[in-house]
Symmetry: C2
């Protein structure tokens, strides 16, 4: 699956290659299956689908599904279709998210809304989603359908939570966990749980639990990166989320601990429509000094620890080892 990891250069993507090693052949089959599911005679659909499959990402969720299906040693063939459907659903939500956010680039390629149109992106999201559903229905497993339908709905609730967070600075730590569970952890948990039903059904619950905790750790790591990444790598202030007035764990954790002066500066940022780099860098510094990033790291590590614990009931296997490695990957990744 060099196509999937070809762009790998950082340690995290090397780690990803190792995680994917036990399922590499099957990941290639997943890509073919995704193409089969998402194509159509209509030239416009073929064109957009082709573009989307070209910009496919690291295939992390299909990897989780395939590894989970192998956790008892005998993965079923239908795990391929399941993994393809899960990734297409993920792709559908990304297409709608980009449309909603008016994003221009995703994974270094133009988004559907920027390359085609807003209309095409709304309808193509629906197309991908319903095609994934058709493939799942044809698998004929109502338990899997139930998991996937619930997750698909959770994802929309996560988005709605984000859209309705008007009083950003009153967003509590619990609100935050609710949000990231819905928007990130639910799909990772669903990928693991439905994957388990394709060959390792006896480990359905621990794998669902593992996916949930992994997803929580994943999103917290992502939200920490927004405070740390650009600064260390490029010297420029990061804070894309902050710039858009999105509140995540580092800020939530810092708020009760900042000085009055710090709080004034934070309020200023949230009252400024387009905060400049200086203000952003200041607030990032304030959050960091108040221990917001450190606190978030500790919470992320707790979720990672829980994820690892969940795997303990699984028998030793390359799949279990790779799932364990995926925790470190999630904690260390830089993009």
């Amino acid at each position: 699956m060099s196509g999937v990891t070809a762009r790998a250069r950082t340690p995290a993507t090397n780690a990803l290659r190792e995680i994917q090693a036990p399922v590499n052949d099957r990941l290639e089959e997943v890509v073919v299956e995704m193409q089969r599911i998402a194509t159509d005679d209509l030239p416009l659909i073929r064109e957009v689908s082709g573009h989307l499959l070209q910009m496919r990402g690291k295939m992390f969720r299909p990897t989780l599904a395939l590894l989970s299906s192998a956790a008892a040693g005998q993965p079923e063939a239908r795990a391929i279709t399941l993994a393809a459907s899960v990734e297409l659903m993920h792709l559908a939500t990304l297409v709608h998210d980009d449309s909603v956010d008016h994003s221009v680039l995703r994974r270094g390629l133009p988004t559907v809304n920027s390359l085609f149109s807003h209309q095409v992106s709304v309808i193509m999201g629906d197309f991908l989603y319903t095609r994934a559903l058709m493939a799942l229905v044809r698998m004929g497993d109502l338990e899997i359908m139930k998991i996937v339908a619930d997750v698909a709905n959770e994802l929309t609730i996560g988005e709605m939570r984000q859209l309705s967070a008007v009083d950003a600075l009153n967003f509590s730590e619990d609100d935050y966990y609710h949000l990231i569970r819905a928007k990130t952890a639910s799909l990772m948990s669903g990928a693991c749980e439905s994957g388990a039903l394709c060959g390792a059904a006896q480990f359905r619950e621990p794998l669902a639990h593992f996916g949930d905790r992994l997803g929580m750790a994943f999103q917290i790591a992502d939200d920490i990166l927004d405070y740390t990444e650009d600064q260390s790598v490029t010297g420029k202030p990061g804070g894309l989320d902050l710039r858009e007035h999105k509140v995540s764990l580092p800020l939530i954790a810092a708020l009760p601990r900042v000085s009055a002066a710090g709080r004034t500066r934070i309020d200023e940022l949230f009252a400024t429509e387009a905060p400049d780099d200086e203000l952003l860098a200041d607030v990032i510094g304030i959050v960091s000094d108040a221990g917001g990033i450190e606190y978030s790291r500790r919470r992320g590590e707790q979720f990672a620890h829980d994820a690892e614990q969940a795997l303990r009931v699984l028998p030793e296997s390359p799949a279990r080892a790779a799932l364990t490695d995926s925790i470190a990957y999630v904690m260390d990744r830089r993009s």
Copy 2:
């Protein structure tokens, strides 16, 4: 086709009331079920759902599903959930269509995109759709799931067909039937077919066929109205579709028969970004004089006739009588 056209003077809404009479109590249950399926703790979701359920339309598709479930005399209780899910799916597509078209009003009330935001409408469409899906999965009937998933995908393909029809004046009669089958007939057929599976499974095929033909007649009648309605009622030219350069059957049928001067005028309309009322009225007259509306009526009547034929294998019942009446309703309606 006299059976169908005999009621030509009955006001369409009275006709609808008669059609719904055999399932009136159950339609009320469907509304309650829709509320149950589409609500959530999140205030923003509750608010948007409430608005959408308030603007619910004539409940024509749930009516078809309920009548179909009663075609053998013993409708199952789960037909309620099915009918509610079908209508919620329909509502989800309307929300996305309005978002894509930037429509301001629907059924006399503000659209979700105009009342809330574009973002909210994209995500709420997804929410409604996935909630409908969750309800269907819990019914536990894979055949029904298959019908609904296929229809949901057909609807997106219909939308994509519409978005990709760039060379409007080369749109053929076959292209048109493909389009309206995907965007209209598929859901009516699916409502009847899945309804049949809730109590009248032996009539699944004729009811699916009936729904398809009814849907084709429905969309043709709709497209004719765009050429005739406002003119007769208000004296103003109609032609909303024409104004947006959407080609439908009346124009397709007229094109080979118009004079060179007529064709020039039509080309002019399609080359004008915002055609004025005079140009629209001219083209409507040209299409009408060339027999485009008359031709469309005849094609609509053929589909209506096929729909009526499809019902002949059903035993006599109030449900069958109402389904037959629904054909006249579709042909006569004014909105």
